[in-house]
């Protein structure tokens, strides 16, 4: 199979019209407006994206592009009820089943569990088992012919008995996790406050909306094993899930990551489900099985950002200090645990915001509802709680008649401050730096004064209003608490028989640049050019477990291991040959260095007491957003957004800016238009025509400013960049809407309906994230049914409209 990711071409290939090329000696680097932060370090130009040429010429192979001769197509039979008992799976006798394979829970050779944190989620609901959400998988079918497969799906009937459903996390009795962070005496100190600001903030589901849908192809092997090829972030999560449910050893289950068209967390845990489904079908029919979701199925069934309710009380002393914070976080985990405890943990730990406060109490709870499970999405709990934190700070600034910038200047963490877990911030604390960088670049003070004057001078006939808003955030780098120690990740580097240098890690490329920066980091440590360093495919039969590609940990944690492995390789070769590595490595192999994670310096985190160093370091970000609000329609146009991000040492400027710009736009979408609506626990806007993300016309001009406060615990000083910008732009946009209109929107997204309701005093729309009850029952009420009554006709009512004929019937 072609592996375009392995191309080592990093210099510009020839152009047809070389006359328009810039000077070859100085390749264009755009835009370089900040000096290198490490004095005296001469940086070679950053290499171009390694797999870029393959992506740009259409030769990069994503999962759906792969051809496996004789492959069958697989499909999932899902529940259409939010909570029910599965009484039976019935096949229409009138249909010819001879060409179709059906898989039920009875076909699972191992445990019927999608292995992750908790063991609550079945691969397929067994007969007699409990259906806990609308899109739950109950059976699988596969067929060589797609038209026949589509017909077969409609002739499988799930016999169910409906059970009462819970949609509101505040009413749920089933808890997935809870945490408490205590620092000082928040309740006592609150009594001494001269100003107390309270607020309740709600955020809804957000869809990752990678443009490549979930995709997996399972290939059965002669040795009894299965190889899955898929679009995924974490090969070893899938590997672990396969070993358990398929009762396979390490070698029998093989996971290969193919070119992945975006993840953003959405391909962290769900690929385990689709891999197991494809593998079960492949084992049963003996053919490769393709499971390629269409957009409707992807949105309907896969994980979303957790909805959350955050209740916040802040106390300010008479001298204007932040005296106390009492915060309660409730997250909606959906029907199964997935990664919810870890999402809640990060959300809880970030809920106080990046501000010094001696008396803090934060409680976090995650509850189950009968909605599809929620999971990882860029920011992982922090965007939800930091939205609330920034709303509070901006409202306090208003109450104190203080500039939102000045208040943050006073309260933001500095070196030596202590966080609510008792972590002393010893270094790499860039809060002040990003605050100053963003506010200066956006001329925040001057423009804020202008918009306030405009608001005061506004007449009743005004049709639009402009506003500017600011927010600040922190984001813990790498896994929370003891996570990295437990992962004990390994990264390797080797000299091959044929004299090549090769990096072996399980860290995946999904657009963020892993395949470019790892060779870049290794090359610098080895004293060679980046294109002398290969990177092995993300195949569990080849690479070690470097942990998941999540939590902004790849550049910092795994990148650090790559550097240390390269340094050891260099030392060993130079010791053996007595010559510089670059001149001698080609004849020195084979040789391999496996480098395992060792803890960063600091106070170990106590998972029970929630005390200690929650993260080895923090990234810091400040966003300034400028908006126009249409005063008739309440439509918000985000005109401009500046995001200054301290990510430690910048490894690759263009790639890092790309992360900041992309994360900022996802946050702008979160703030303004992205909202999943639910009825009876089912997503209503489950298509791209109805779940909107920003287009180029909706997107503001985004300016990314990279601030470098290196982290000494990592050999290269990097802290990670992926998630940080996602935390900060949404509250900046809502602050700008307030600056324009004078109203505070407490629920995200700040849709025209919510803004108009706040402006006119009308009843607001329902809170985000909570499903409405079914308006008109599609099925008779339970009490009217005979026992074991059929609730689903053979023709599924929710068959996707876009599932059109794709067959060549000629």
């Amino acid at each position: 199979m072609e592996r375009p990711g392995l191309t080592t071409r990093t210099s510009p290939p020839g152009l047809t019209e070389p006359r328009v090329l810039p000077d070859e000696a100085s390749p264009l680097v755009i835009p370089v407006d900040a000096p290198d932060a490490v004095p005296g370090r001469i940086r070679p130009p950053d290499p171009l994206r390694r797999e870029g040429p393959a992506k740009l010429t259409g030769t990069a192979k994503y999962t759906d592009d792969l051809v496996f001769p004789g492959a069958w197509f697989g499909a999932t039979i899902r529940s259409t009820q939010p909570h029910a008992r599965l009484l039976g799976i019935e096949l229409d006798e009138a249909f010819d089943w001879s060409q179709v394979v059906l898989v039920t829970a009875d076909d699972i050779p191992g445990e019927n569990i999608v292995s992750l944190i908790d063991d609550d989620q079945p691969v397929l609901v067994p007969v007699g088992g409990e259906i806990r959400h609308q899109a739950e998988a109950c059976a699988l079918v596969a067929c060589a012919d797609r038209a026949m497969l589509r017909a077969a799906r409609l002739h499988v009937r799930l016999r169910t008995e409906r059970l009462p459903a819970v949609f509101d996390p505040l009413e749920s009795k089933l808890e997935f996790a809870h945490y408490t962070v205590e620092h000082g005496d928040a309740a006592g100190a609150m009594k001494d406050a001269s100003l107390v600001i309270e607020g309740t903030y709600r955020v809804g589901h957000q869809e990752q909306l990678y443009i490549e849908n979930q995709a997996m192809i399972a290939v059965p092997r002669e040795d009894g094993g299965v190889t899955v090829h898929g679009s995924l972030q974490c090969p070893y999560y899938v590997h672990k899930a396969m070993k358990r449910a398929l009762a396979m050893g390490d070698e029998l289950a093989v996971v290969v990551q193919e070119e992945t068209g975006g993840g953003f967390g959405g391909k962290e845990e769900y690929p385990s489900v689709i891999a197991l489904h494809a593998a079960l079908l492949a084992l049963k029919c003996g053919k490769p099985v393709r499971m390629i979701y269409d957009r409707h199925e992807d949105i309907s069934a896969t994980t979303k950002r957790h909805p959350a309710v955050v209740r916040y009380r802040s106390g300010v002393s008479a001298t204007g200090e932040l005296l106390a914070q009492e915060i309660e976080v409730i997250m909606d985990g959906g029907a199964y645990c997935t990664l919810t405890p870890v999402v809640l943990s990060r959300g809880t730990l970030h809920a106080g915001g990046p501000y010094r406060c001696e008396n803090v109490r934060i409680t976090g709870r995650a509850m189950a509802t009968n909605t599809p499970p929620n999971g990882a999405f860029r920011g992982f709990g922090a965007p939800q709680t930091e939205f609330a934190a920034e709303m509070q700070i901006n409202r306090i600034a208003e109450a104190l008649d203080s500039s939102p910038l000045d208040l943050r200047r006073r309260w933001v963490y500095r070196v030596g401050d202590t966080t609510p877990t008792g972590q002393v911030l010893r270094e790499s604390v860039g809060g002040t730096d990003v605050l100053e960088a963003a506010s200066e670049a956006a001329s925040f003070e001057r423009r804020h004064a202008q918009t306030q004057a405009m608001r005061e001078a506004r007449t009743d006939g005004a049709r639009t209003a402009s506003g500017i808003g600011l927010a600040l955030a922190w984001h813990g780098a790498g896994f929370t608490g003891s996570g990295e120690v437990k992962l004990a990740s390994v990264a390797s580097i080797e000299l091959t028989d044929d004299g090549r240098i090769r990096i072996l890690t399980a860290s995946t490329e999904m657009g963020q640049g892993t395949k470019t920066i790892f060779p870049q980091l290794a090359a610098e440590a080895l004293g060679v050019e980046p294109d002398e360093v290969d990177i092995a495919p993300q195949d569990t039969s080849i690479v070690p477990d470097s942990g998941p590609t999540v939590a902004s940990r790849t550049a910092m944690v795994v990148g650090g291991l790559v550097i240390r492995a390269a340094e050891k390789l260099r030392a060993r070769v130079e010791e053996r040959t007595g010559r510089p590595f670059a001149d001698s490595y080609r004849d020195a192999g084979p040789m391999r260095i496996d480098e395992q994670f060792t803890p960063y310096p600091g106070v170990p985190f106590d998972d029970k007491k929630y005390r200690g160093d929650a993260y080895p370091a923090f990234g810091w970000a400040c966003a300034v957003a400028a908006v126009d609000v249409d005063l008739d329609t309440a439509e918000v146009t985000v005109r401009e957004c500046v995001s200054a991000d301290d990510i430690g040492t910048v490894i690759h400027r263009v790639l890092a800016e790309g992360q900041v710009e992309g994360g900022t736009l996802q946050a702008v979408g979160y703030a303004t238009i992205e909202e999943m609506k639910l009825v009876d626990g089912r997503y209503l806007n489950d298509r791209l025509a109805t779940y909107l993300i920003p287009t180029s016309l909706d997107a503001p001009r985004i300016k990314a400013i990279l601030v470098e406060k290196p982290f000494s615990g990592a050999p290269h000083g990097a802290k990670g960049v992926g998630e940080l910008p996602m935390d900060v732009a949404a509250p900046a946009v809502v602050a700008a809407i307030h600056d324009a209109t004078g109203i505070w929107i407490h629920d995200l997204p700040a849709t025209p309906e919510r803004i108009l309701a706040a402006m006119t005093g009308a009843d607001p729309p329902p809170p985000p994230g909570v499903s409405a009850e079914e308006p008109t029952p599609r099925t008779p009420p339970i009490e009217d049914l005979p026992a074991g009554g059929d609730q689903m006709p053979f023709r599924a009512p929710t068959d996707p409209p876009q599932d059109r004929d794709r067959e060549d019937a000629s």
Binding site: L28, G263, S696, R806
Partner: protein
């Protein structure tokens, strides 16, 4: 039925029902998998191709409508295994991240360059408004198209 049209400069003949999507003809019958499917309903633009120079969503075009036309896909943009000016500009500015929207973006960008319109921020945004990108925030895509326009214009 049999349909005859040009794809990237070569004549092709396809036997298919007239309603078969051009996207499936390209990807499955002609093995041109550079054109991607993101939504199947004309919202995302990942399947953008040029038909006689006009940008269309190949998921919404039945192959019967391509009969007698000239189709250009991402595979037809690069000369002789190299990169076009636009592709090179995407590579340098960081206009491609995960790469799944990239073929469609390049098609929209190519049509924009061919139109000779002023490569202003506003005009470029308008030209790629039918192509969704979830990775970049569009900034570097716009930079890439502007850079390509600058390099393409006579000095």
């Amino acid at each position: 039925m049999t349909f005859r049209f040009m794809v990237n400069g070569s004549a092709v003949e396809v036997a298919a029902t007239g309603s078969r999507r051009l996207l499936d003809v390209l990807r499955e019958d002609l093995a041109l998998t550079g054109t991607k499917e993101g939504c199947g309903e004309g919202e995302c633009g990942a399947c953008s191709v040029l038909i006689d120079g006009a940008v269309v969503d190949a998921c919404l075009v039945p192959v019967s409508q391509a009969d007698g036309t000239s189709v250009r896909t991402v595979e037809g943009l690069a000369p002789d295994g190299g990169l076009s000016i636009l592709q090179q500009a995407f590579l340098e500015t960081g206009g491609a991240q995960c790469g799944i929207c990239t073929p469609g973006m390049l098609i929209a960008g190519e049509a924009f360059l061919a139109s000779g319109a002023e490569p202003s921020d506003e005009n470029i945004r308008e030209a790629i408004a039918g192509n969704l990108c979830r990775c970049t925030g569009y900034t570097k895509i716009i930079d890439a198209i502007a850079l390509a326009a600058e390099r393409s214009s006579p000095r």
